[in-house]
Structures are given as C-alpha cells and as structure tokens.
Amino acid sequence: MSLDPDLVELLELIRVSESQDEPFKLNQHPVKLGISRNKANELLETAIRSRLVKFNKNIFRLTEQGRQEVQKHREEYIHDKYIHKNNFLNRLSKIFKGNIKDWRNHWRREHGFDENSLKEFYINIRNLENRIEEATPLEDLKQEEKAKLAFIIGGRRLVKRLTEMGLTPGTEITVLRSAPFLGPIEISLRGFSLALGRGVASKVFVTRFNGEN
C-alpha cells in the first residue's frame, strides 16, 4: 500500500519544520504544496486518523510511523534518482520485483553498503533542511549552474574522500563543464577545480541556487 503523494509531501514538510525546530504552520504550506486550504485540512485529518501525525498543544508532530513513512519516501526518492535513473533494465526489474520492503537489506545487498555506511546514510537523510525533492544529483546540473552541497551517499571511503577534498555540506559548487556521452563533470569549489566521474557525481546531492539564497 502506498500513500497519497500529496500526503507524503505534507509529512515531508512537517519533518523539515521539526528538524529546524520550528513549529509547523498550516497556513504557509498549501501554497508550497500547490493545493487548496481545504484539501490541506483534509490531508491533515487523514494523517491524524492514520496515526501518522499527532496534534498536541497546537503543534503538529509526526508519530514514529509518520517518521518512518518520510524516511521510506526519502529512500525511494534517492534510490530512483541515484542509480536507477538511466538504467532501463533496473526499471524493468522493479516492475517484476515490485516495491522494495526491506530497505536496509536492499542497500546492504544490492548497493554494497556496510553497516557504517548505512548508519551514516540514515543520519544524512534524517535531518534535511529542505524537502528531499529539493536535492538533485550533481550530474543533473547544467553548465555554469550553481548549487550548495546537501549530502553525499555511498560507501564511507568515497564520502570521506570527497569531504576531505572540500565537498562538505553547504559548500558552494559551480559546474564548469561536462564531458560528452555521460563522461565526467568538472566543478569548481573553494577556489579550485575538481573532476568527478559520472558515477561519483550521481552520488553527490546538491540544492540548486534559486537566485535569492
């Protein structure tokens, strides 16, 4: 059973407010969600009924179940954006195998995450400053586009290596150019240039600059 995408997005928004220690305000969010106020109220009621959200002392909070839903959503999003985007066969196998139920096992078995990598991966996606949809793999950026680093997924070695080359969360990155046929990408950061292979660049998640921030 999967949830209404609008509902999931609402849960995402509550999660983001929580991790920034701000109370979740309903009246701001219909706009962000692109739905009417009534629809938003309806969604919230559904969420409370399904015990995904609790309403306590005028504050909406996620229940444990709600948090799990958000995490599952984030994992799914990254999974699709991360390796399976360009791979037709993998998409096909997804249709046959159906949805992944045990994510932990999936990351471990299919993507070679060890315990520590897995732990760091979950820490990374637990507390995001923005909805997961704001995060894009670096490889999707166009030439000259600027972005801020959100998080890196992958084995511990890769993550540590990139971090030590200066790719720490919040670092400003400009895409300089990319090689053809899905070749590597050259970026500039902290006053120097770095070439990243396509595989590496698909594991680096960034938030695009929208001009104002």
Partner: protein, 656 residues
C-alpha cells in the same frame, strides 16, 4: 669527529603544489616534476649541507588529508606520526589557500615543529590573489616564508627559518586549532578520557589527535585503540560521544569534523586573502575551457597525440641517419683500424661488438626517446595531462578504469617502468593491477624504435600508425576482458584539475635529462653486455643450436627468418636490442634486405606484445609480487605468438 649535526626534515603538502620543485631546489636531486597530481608515489630522499648542519630531506607524497584511505596518505601519516622528523615544511599553494590549509591544520594537530612555505605566490598574484603572510603566520603561530620554488626564491630563507626552529630560536607554541564550541566540548572530554585510559598510546601520539581521529572514525586508530589496554572501554565512550554529536548536528561525525576543519580553513583564508582584481576570464581559463571542451577537446587531444608521434618520427628519423652514419662509417672503421695491428682478432671482435652495440643504442634508441621525453615534459608541466584524463574518463570506464589511468598509459609510451610505478595514482589494488596490465601492453619508446625504425621507415608512416591503432584496440579488448575477470567494483574519478601554467624551460630540460640519464643507466649496460655476449655466442657457434631449438616457432609458425630468433630472445633484456641485434647479425642496417614487408609487420607485432622487458618485469614484481608479474609475462608471450602467427597467415593470404 664529525662536527656537523644531522637533522631530518620532511616536505608535506597537497598534490601538485610544487613540493618536488622545492625538493629539487633544496637538494639538487632530479625528482621528476609535473603538473599532474600524484607523481611522488614513493618518498624521495636527499641531503644538503647548511650552516653546519647535515639536513636529510624527505619528500613525502602529495596528499589532501591525513586519513588512511590511500597509500600516499598512509605513507605520509606513518612517517610523520611514528618516525617523527625534526621538522616539517608544509608546502602550500598560495592560489588555493583554503583547501591547502585543511591539511595544514591536520599537520598542526600532529604537533610536530613546522614551518610553512607559501609557494607559487607569483602565480597567485597573477590570478589577482594577495596573501598577507605575516597575518597568516600570527594566526597559525608558525613561521611562514613566501616562495617561488621554480626560480628558487625563498629557499634560503626557508632553510634559515628552519634552523631557527630547530635550534629553538624561533619558538613554536603548541598551536591549538579550536573547533566550534559544541565539538570542542566533546573533544576535550574525549581527550581527557584518552589521556587517562590510554597512557601508552598518548606517549606515541598527541592525545588530542587520537581523540580527533576517534571522532572521525579512523579505522587504523580505532583498531590500535581497541588492541590497547582499556581500549574497549574507550571505544564505548567514544561511541556515546559520537552519538551525541550526530544527534545535534544531523550529520555523520566524520563529516561534522571535516566540515568544522574546512570552516576554520575558510575563515583563516578569508582573513588573510585579498582579491585585488576580480578573477576575469584570462587566457589560461579559456585554454582550460577549450582543451576540456565536450566537442573541441577531442580533436585537440587527437592533434596533440598525433603531432607528438609525428614530431618524434621526423626528428628521430633525421637524427638516426646522422648518428648511424657516424658510427657505421667513421667510428667503427677507425677503431677497427687502431686495433687491427695490436690485438688478436677475438678481442678486436669483442670490442667492436661492444662499440657497435653502444653505437646502435645511441644512434637508434636515443633519437626517438629524447624527443618523446621533451614533449612529455612539456605536456606534464603545462597541466594538459589531467585534461586528457578528463576527456578519456568515459572510455577508460569501459575497461573498468577511470580517466586517471590514461596518465600512466601515456607515460608507457615513453617507458613502461615509470608507467608501472605511476599506476599507484589509482586508488585500489585492483585498479592498480588492471592499469598496469594494460600499461605493459603499450609500446614503449623502445618498441617505437622498432615500429618506426622498421615498419615506419620501410613501409611508411601509415602502416606504423595502423600498428599503433591495432595495439589500442587490443588493449581495449584485453582491458575489458580483464575487468570482467577481476572481481571487485570499479571506482569513480576524483581528480584535481590544476590550472594551466606556461612550462618552464629549465624544468623541462632537467626532467628530460633526468629521464634520459635513467634510461642510459638502465639500458646501456644491457645493450653493451648483450652485444658482447651475442658476439661470443656467434664466435663459439652456440647460437646455432639455440636457433635450431626455436626454429619451429620462429619459421613455421611466425614465418620469420631463422635469424630473428636471437634478437627476440635478447629483446627480453631491452626491446630496442631486437632491432640493433638484428642489424648486427645480418651485418647490415638495411632491413629491407633481411625481411619482407610481411615479416617486418609480424616481427614488429611480436616485439610490441611479447613480453615486458626485464626492467618492467622487475617493476611489476616490486608492485604486485612474483606471481602476478610472471602471470602477466607468460600471458603476453603466448598472446604475442598467437597474434603473430595469425597476422602472418592473414597477411600472406591477403597479399596472394
């Protein structure tokens, strides 16, 4: 009694900041310098005398951090942490201060006396960056010397400051890099735990450093701690602290520490840097855009490679004809004339063989090798190689490697030995071996001598190029096969792209000389001894039983004249020997009289593939052990015979 005091200093810094240049300035040794990250794969040592001191200088490999994720980092960290040099010179690229300071901070945390060489200040000011080094010195509390290593500016001052530090005239306080309050609180707590519980270990390393490494989940320190007394307890406490940090920051603890360190580096860099002119699109930026361009980059790469080989061919061919003439027509007859009256014909024969071997080495090998080294040095020093690696990354992935492997492969066209060692720029053992496996199949300068000197000269440049192309296809196919056969996941490309520099004539000249010298030292003894040995075999007649033994393979399978069996055996010593010996055996340098066009091609193909020369095998053994080295050698011999035999049949059939 020796009055001199002996001290040891180590050079440490990021890759590609000019460490090797500083090393050469200090010691006068010929450490190979190039504008691509990761040349110093093994630490180089040199010595100099200054103000009554004997200073041993260790050039450590270029690294970005003191973790233990690559061979280079392990070498550097082990050296600094356990062998404790008297002082470190941290060489920093002034034009990328922030990233360089990341390592500087880590070196400071190891609490070894240190001074900082702010290198390439000329290049930084060209880019409009000015650094207040006095302020930087105040902040870091260590002496700082601005240097331009290429011209030697600052080297003297570096040495005298260094002596000052070592004699205690310049006091260096134990600089304490302060992290954010939150982290600092945990760090101090853990430091106290380490100090109290791990008394032994705290004597070896600074306890604050151990605490930091524990928070960074450094595997090596983790295991060392686990094995010491109270280790388990410390690890449990560490895990508790890490949990707290991760809860507060929402990021994994190693990333929190790295981020904090980078923000310190960022703050310091901002504090001392003044950007005078805003960075504009300078010529070198445009050059860097064009040469790595998704469309224009490839024709440029092709032009660079082709003109490199064409130039080598033209220059080499010209030099060969002049030098060969000198040895054949003037020197040999003259020596023969001198000796004929005084010594026995056997000794004369041996001496003449030695001289003509030497002559062949100089006349046939060097003319192709020296121009290659010059061009390679130009490409290296300018910074073009990483662009080529960038463009070739995708193709390299097809054989399970990434773009960086293109650099050792290109080096392989010069000599397979440095290329094999250059494979260390690859990150894992699997990739290193894979890269070496394909690199060994690259025709080195010695093979180029055969291809150009035989096929190129007699059958035309196009046929020679066809052989090179065939070789590339072969490498691609074999690489793909090996990639499938070797277990493990391929690793992605992470490579710094250094800005372009105009190559320095001195550096290029020095580098060419150093490499040529190495080549002469390694190759010439083999060439001379091989020639004399061969002459002895000829005179005693042993050679004919050898040839008879090999006849079925050489004549029946490969369709070559029986004579070629001997040079093929001796080619194992040095591949250029094959051509040289062939000319000696037949008593002529006109190969058209000895070999038919088909035989030339088969001969060139076999020598191109059949075995890495003995020095390359030695390099392979050193890097990968006996088993794998011999595995590769035997595989290559069989492969060469198979391909040679098939080529002979196809070519004969096609020309019927």
């Amino acid at each position: 009694m020796n009055q001199r005091k002996s001290i040891t200093i180590a050079l440490a810094g990021n890759a590609n900041v000019g460490k090797s240049v500083v090393f050469n300035q200090l010691t006068g040794l010929d450490q190979i310098i190039g504008n691509w990250p990761g040349k110093t794969v093994e630490r180089a040592e040199g010595r100099l005398f200054f103000e009554g001191y004997t200073i041993n200088v260790i050039d450590l490999p270029g690294i970005y951090s003191l973790s233990t994720f690559s061979i280079e980092e392990i070498v550097t960290r082990d050296y600094i942490a356990t062998e404790r040099p008297d002082a470190i010179i941290n060489i920093v690229d002034a034009s990328a201060l922030e990233r360089n300071l990341y390592l500087t901070i880590q070196l400071l945390e190891l609490q070894t006396p240190m001074i900082l060489a702010l290198n390439q200040i000329d290049f930084a000011s060209k880019r409009g960056i000015e650094i207040d080094f006095e302020k930087l010195s105040e902040i870091l509390e260590i002496p700082i010397v601005p240097t331009i290593a290429i011209t030697g500016i600052g080297t003297k001052e570096l040495l005298s400051k260094l002596i000052g530090v070592i004699e205690g005239k310049i006091a260096i306080p134990k600089t304490k890099i302060r992290y954010g309050k939150e982290i600092e609180k945990h760090l101090e707590k853990l430091e106290n735990i380490v100090k109290n519980k791990l008394k032994q270990l705290s004597k070896r390393y600074p306890s604050r450093w151990i605490a930091l490494k524990l928070l960074e989940r450094d595997e090596e320190i983790y295991h060392t701690v686990l094995e010491s007394m109270n280790g388990k307890q410390v690890i449990t406490l560490t895990n508790e602290i890490i949990d707290q940090i991760e809860k507060v920051h929402g990021e994994p603890s190693p990333i929190v520490i790295a981020s904090e360190r980078y923000s310190i580096a960022n703050l310091i860099a901002k504090e001392v840097t003044r950007v005078i002119s805003p960075p504009r699109i300078a010529f070198r930026d445009r050059l860097s855009a064009v040469t790595a361009d998704r469309i224009l980059g490839y024709p440029i790469l092709a032009i660079v490679m082709l003109s490199m080989f064409a130039l080598i061919f033209v220059v080499g061919d010209f030099l060969v004809s002049i030098l060969d003439n000198f040895f054949q027509e003037i020197l040999t007859p003259y020596v023969e004339y001198l000796l004929s009256s005084s010594t026995s014909p056997i000794i004369t024969g041996i001496i003449i063989a030695g001289i003509s071997g030497l002559g062949a080495g100089i006349a046939i090998a060097l003319p192709y090798i020296v121009p290659f080294y010059i061009i390679l040095a130009l490409l290296e020093d300018s910074g073009y190689l990483p662009r080529a690696a960038f463009l070739m990354d995708k193709l390299m992935h097809k054989i399970g490697l990434h773009g960086k492997a293109f650099i050792p492969m290109l080096l392989g066209y010069g000599c397979n030995v440095p290329a094999c060692i250059g494979c260390r720029i690859m990150e894992t053992d699997r990739e290193r071996f894979l890269a070496a496996f394909v690199t060994v199949l690259i025709p080195c300068a010695a093979v180029t001598v055969i291809i150009l000197g035989l096929v190129g000269r007699y059958l035309g440049l196009l046929t020679a190029i066809a052989l090179y192309l065939f070789n590339l296809i072969l490498i691609f196919l074999l690489g793909r096969l090996a990639y499938r056969a070797l277990p493990g996941e391929p690793i992605g490309l992470i490579m710094e792209m250094p800005p372009y520099r105009s190559p320095s004539i001195t550096v290029v000249a020095k580098k060419t000389w150093a490499r040529t010298k190495d080549f002469i030292y390694v190759a010439f003894p083999f060439i001379i001894i091989g020639s004399i040995f061969l002459e002895t075999l000829m005179m005693t007649g042993i050679i004919w039983s050898l040839v008879e033994f090999m006849a079925p393979v050489i004549t029946d399978w490969l369709g070559l004249p029986i004579l070629t069996g001997i040079p093929l055996i001796f080619g194992i010593l040095r591949k250029e020997l094959t051509l040289i010996l062939l000319s000696e055996l037949s008593g002529s340098t006109d190969f058209a009289q000895i070999l038919t066009p088909i035989q030339m091609i088969v001969f060139a193909l076999v020598t191109m593939i059949y075995i890495p020369c003995i020095s390359t095998i030695a390099a392979l053994i050193k890097e990968f052990g006996w088993k794998r080295a011999f595995g590769v050698s035997i595989f290559d011999i069989i492969l060469a015979l198979v391909i040679g035999g098939i080529a002979y049949r196809i070519l004969t059939f096609a020309t019927l």
